[in-house]
Symmetry: C2
Subunit: 102 residues, 2 copies
Amino acid sequence: MPSDLHGLADIDRLIHEPARLALAAILSVVESADFLYLQRETGLTKGNLSSHLAKLEEAGYIAIEKTYRGRVPLTLVRLTDAGTAAYRTYRARFKKFLEKTG
Amino acid sequence: MPSDLHGLADIDRLIHEPARLALAAILSVVESADFLYLQRETGLTKGNLSSHLAKLEEAGYIAIEKTYRGRVPLTLVRLTDAGTAAYRTYRARFKKFLEKTG
DNA sequence: CAAACTAGTTAGTTATACAAACCATAAAGG
DNA sequence: CCTTTATGGTTTGTATAACTAACTAGTTTG
């Protein structure tokens, strides 16, 4: 394999996807967020948000806690350590790409 | 629609895709490049490269000129003005995102 | 003249994002 | 009450996307 253009090739696709990148950006600053808050912030449909969260959870990037607010179900999401690390790495890599190709 | 998280939502997907982002980065600095050069730089398979180029051409981001080197066919690729503009916009937007969420 | 290389395209598979429809419960209105 | 409306999601289906493998076509080399 060639130079792979400044590590662009092994960018984390899971985070690269704009919807998930937005989610990571939000979760990186809030400790934890509920489903509807995330939906409003990202503008995603419920289904879409649900599937993105499932992917992030599968990757171990987020932890999903299903609880109740009163008797109304409530889904709380937070970034795991792995998720935080992945997000940081992604940002660093991309920043480097932008600089190197500036 | 909500805040859309610093314009991340309307990022140019055509350029956002890492393979095409790499292509744009290369083409933004070389005036013109041939197929095999691009293949080696990006590490893409021929088929994959071909389809990415087709998409970029369809969008008017690149111009493809099919010519000959001696009697061997040669495909030359260069960024159009629209492509250059789109690449620049993409970079600016992403940079902004990185800064704002820094 | 056969093998192997150059330069690509086409065809087919797999994965992805996305929206629409659905399900379940709870509160509110008549 | 019991129907509507809202909350909080999941499941399902579909169109697009990326990617690989196989094929085409001509060319050089042994």
